[in-house]
């Protein structure tokens, strides 16, 4: 098996390098999914990368120079029951990528970024889906929200 040591060495070297790249990649980019209610609950988050989901608040989108201000709203808790009072998170996006076309009032959005100490979420990346509702029943009249096709 002596001749295989060269292969083994190279394979270990390659996989080791890739593994190292992967772990540094993970630790530098890992973004924690949080709902708005979880944000308020847990304490100092200011250095963790977070991804918050919510619906874009009606009439909340506002441009100020290069920044876009809006609010994200969570109106259901984790089990899907409506909350007594909807949670509102103010967000500021100042990234360079253009906002997705689906970014409009009521759309489901994901904001990646950090929570500032002033309670405003500073987003560096925004993703938005077509405003869609999960159809629980197979048969439903249309008009109850447009469903995302792709």
């Amino acid at each position: 098996m002596k001749k295989y040591w060269k292969f083994g060495f190279l394979i270990v070297a390659i996989l080791g390098t890739l593994g190292w790249l992967a772990s540094t990649g993970i630790s530098e980019t890992k973004t924690y999914y949080k709902t708005i209610s979880e944000l308020n609950g847990i304490g100092d988050h200011s250095d963790k990368k977070l991804r918050v989901a919510g619906d874009i608040g009606a009439d909340s989108i506002r441009r100020e120079g290069r920044d876009v201000h809006f609010t994200l709203i969570q109106d259901k808790d984790a089990e899907g029951h409506p909350l007594a009072k909807a949670l509102v998170l103010p967000v500021v996006y100042s990234g360079i990528d253009p906002l997705p076309d689906t970014f409009k009032d009521g759309a489901q959005a994901l904001a990646d970024g950090k929570l500032g100490s002033d309670g405003v979420f500073r987003a560096t990346k925004i993703q938005a889906k077509c405003a869609s509702k999960y159809e629980a029943k197979p048969i439903q009249a249309p008009g109850s929200g447009s469903r995302a096709a792709l």
């Binding site: 390098t17 540094t24 990649g25 924690y32 447009s146 096709a149």
Partner: protein, 668 residues
């Protein structure tokens, strides 16, 4: 009508079960009638599913808004071509499309194999039809495309539908999903033959020879589908990029990676009788990754901007995948004796070794992408926190892998089998290496400092020069022997060995695509709020906002800005990006304007007006070398087509070398 459709797929479901049972029973009990009957069932299944598909398409085109699917994805105002493509615009219809493609592939295979492979065919049919049973289960029992809208006990005709999302009403919608599906679904054919050859203990390579063309064509469709998606994202979806490492994008890439690894490692098996077990694993992995990709896109398991509506069919996919993977693994393990290698790895500097490393890094990439995509699901299971990783993670791993692959692409085809020496490598790669270094020296002199970009350009040059040398050397040899001119010699050279030289062209195409990717290191961007009459500077360009207009038509309301673009002081044209608001679904879209040139694209997005409505917000980008990606695709396509042409000379791959002939019977 919809009742006929529903009945057709139900019948197809029954027939598919019959086909599996008849084929297997016929084979085991040695009853030819049952085996033939199973094959004929494949044809009838195709007819039945075609009827169902035809009914759905007819309902979409004619606007039968009593059907839930039609009401959801079609509307009167949509152009006919999009009404047709609504067939795959939603969950149920796209599953029916999957089924139809599978039935079509199965019928073609059965037809082309009549009179051949009699040993294997019953199992090929059984594997394909078992998969068909699964996919038919989904549309017959869970997500029927033929549901009607009901109010109480009455069927309701809603008169008009919601239509496809505005983002999908582009010509790319008509071909991107079909291309991807043709690639995804097609991989069942090599898989079925591989399994059949294992079950029937066929010696070695019959299944590889049979399925080489299928694998190439399927791979080609996958590549086309993936690049079309990237092109669509770039030109239409307006976020300035072509790949976001989104879970659904990754899902399409994973089987492509293993298919690419498979295309290379089969050469090892064909020529050296090595990697037999590995090839079985690869072809199975590719097939299951195709199914897995279909699952990922539809089940909502991972959050994605692409995801279809979430649905409970995810569980069914998991069951199917579990059964399939278990059965396949058991089969491979039970046949290990028949998959023993005929040769050994002898040297790190050898063609075998390059194939090994090619497979290693491709699979590493596949694993890393799979890991990164499923990270939220895995981390939630193990830590309770849902954590996702983003584009930087994927890029960090895949850029070095891509660079290493480029190196292998240059070195691999020219290195000897079994064992090579540094001395012979030095000779073969002198000019490519010198060219690569020269290109880098020139780039550094021009001010380029990005390390990855420099390595990339050097390797691209390396590969292109080594491929060019191969063509030139070969053509010269033919030209001097046959006294033909250079061009004819090149053609003759390629024709004599279409696999080799077609493969070289595919490699060059991939390199061109990678040159396009490397351009990303030099992207420039600016976002501004400006007034009419103001000029913005970006790189060499001056962009002057000259006009802002608004309007409305039947379909949408629009706003448009006009930009006068100049480069280095010279006026080069007018660009008019738009924002539209589609009235029916109140969906906004942006229509970017792109000025494409080989060296760079000028890309302008009209982001909207500032809050006080007085200024225009404009995003301008310079994307160097992006067009090379689309150009490279055509080269890859050309190369693949050349590979598919049967070569002039039938190639024989001897596994043993005659080194001497003795007078007596000598022990070898």
């Amino acid at each position: 009508m919809e009742n006929i459709g529903a009945l057709s797929i139900l019948l197809a479901f029954c027939f598919a079960i019959y086909a599996v049972l008849a084929s297997v029973t016929g084979k085991l009990a040695k009853r030819p009638f049952l085996m033939v009957s199973g094959e004929r069932a494949v044809y009838s299944i195709w007819v039945l599913i075609s009827i169902a598909a035809g009914i759905l398409i007819y309902s979409l085109m004619s606007g039968d808004y009593r059907m839930a699917y039609v009401a959801h994805y079609s509307n009167k105002a949509m152009p006919a071509v999009y009404k047709y493509s609504a067939w795959w615009g939603g969950q149920e219809g796209s599953l029916l499309f999957w089924n139809w493609l599978l039935a079509t592939y199965a019928s073609v295979v059965v037809f082309k194999s009549r009179g051949k492979f009699r040993e294997m065919m019953p199992y090929v049919v059984a594997v394909m039809m078992a998969t068909q049973v699964f996919f038919l289960t989904l549309i017959v029992f869970l997500e029927s495309p033929f549901r009607v809208l009901m109010a109480g006990k009455r069927v309701v005709d809603v008169g008009d539908g919601q239509g496809l999302s505005a983002l999908l009403q582009y010509w790319t919608m008509v071909i991107h999903p079909p291309m991807l599906y043709l690639g995804y679904v097609g991989f069942i054919v090599p898989f079925a033959f591989a399994m059949a050859s294992l079950i029937t203990k066929q010696p070695g390579e019959a299944w590889i020879h049979t399925t080489r063309r299928w694998t190439l064509v399927t791979w080609m469709f996958q590549s086309t589908g993936i690049l079309l998606g990237a092109g669509w994202a770039y030109s239409v979806l307006g976020w300035g990029g072509y790949w976001g490492w989104d879970p659904v994008e990754n899902a399409s890439l994973l089987p492509w990676i293993t298919a690419t690894a498979f295309l290379h490692s089969v050469m090892m098996q064909e020529k050296k009788g090595m990697m037999k077990v590995w090839n079985m694993v690869l072809v199975s992995a590719t097939f299951f990754l195709c199914i897995f990709g279909t699952f990922l896109t539809r089940s909502g398991v991972v959050n994605s901007v692409h995801a279809f509506a979430q649905s409970p069919i995810g569980l069914y996919f998991v069951v199917f995948l579990s059964i399939g993977i278990t059965a396949t693994s058991a089969l491979i393990l039970s046949r290990l004796d028949f998959l023993k290698s005929e040769a050994q790895m002898e040297s790190v500097l050898s063609r075998e070794s390059s194939f090994l490393f090619n497979n290693l890094v491709l699979l590493a990439s596949c694993f890393a992408i799979l890991w990164g995509t499923l990270f939220p699901v895995i981390s939630e299971k193990f830590t309770g926190e849902k954590i996702s990783v983003d584009a930087p993670f994927f890029n960090r791993i895949n850029v070095p892998i891509a660079l290493f692959l480029m190196l292998l692409t240059g070195v691999g085809p020219l290195i000897a089998w079994r064992k090579s020496s540094f001395a012979s490598l030095r000779l073969a790669f002198l000019w490519p290496t010198v060219s690569g270094v020269a290109v880098d020296a020139a780039l550094i002199a021009l001010g380029v400092r990005d390390v990855y970009a420099l390595i990339s350009f050097a390797l691209c040059t390396f590969v292109i020069v080594s491929v060019a040398m191969e063509f030139v050397k070969g053509a010269n040899a033919i030209a001097s022997k046959d006294k033909t001119n250079f061009v004819m010699s090149m053609i003759e050279l390629t024709y004599r060995n279409t696999r080799r030289y077609g493969g070289y062209i595919v490699h060059v195409g991939i390199i061109i695509i990678f040159i396009g990717f490397t351009g990303k290191a030099f992207d420039q961007h600016v976002t501004v709020e400006i007034d009419k009459g103001q000029t913005v500077h970006l790189g060499h360009y001056d962009l002057l906002l000259t006009d802002y207009q608004q309007g409305q038509n039947d379909n949408y309301r629009w706003e448009k800005i006009t930009i006068d673009a100049s480069k280095n002081g010279q006026h080069i044209g007018t660009m008019e990006p738009e924002k539209r608001l589609y009235l029916a679904k109140k969906e906004p879209t942006s229509v970017v304007d792109i000025r494409r040139r080989l060296n760079e694209d000028l890309y302008i997005n009209f982001a909207g007006t500032s809050d006080d409505g007085k200024k225009i917000v404009m995003e301008a980008y310079v994307f160097p070398l992006v067009t090379w990606i689309w150009v490279g695709y055509w080269v890859v396509l050309a190369g693949t087509l050349i590979c598919l042409v049967p070569p002039r000379s039938r190639l024989i791959f001897p596994r043993t070398e005659v080194v001497a002939v003795t007078g007596k019977h000598a022990k070898v």
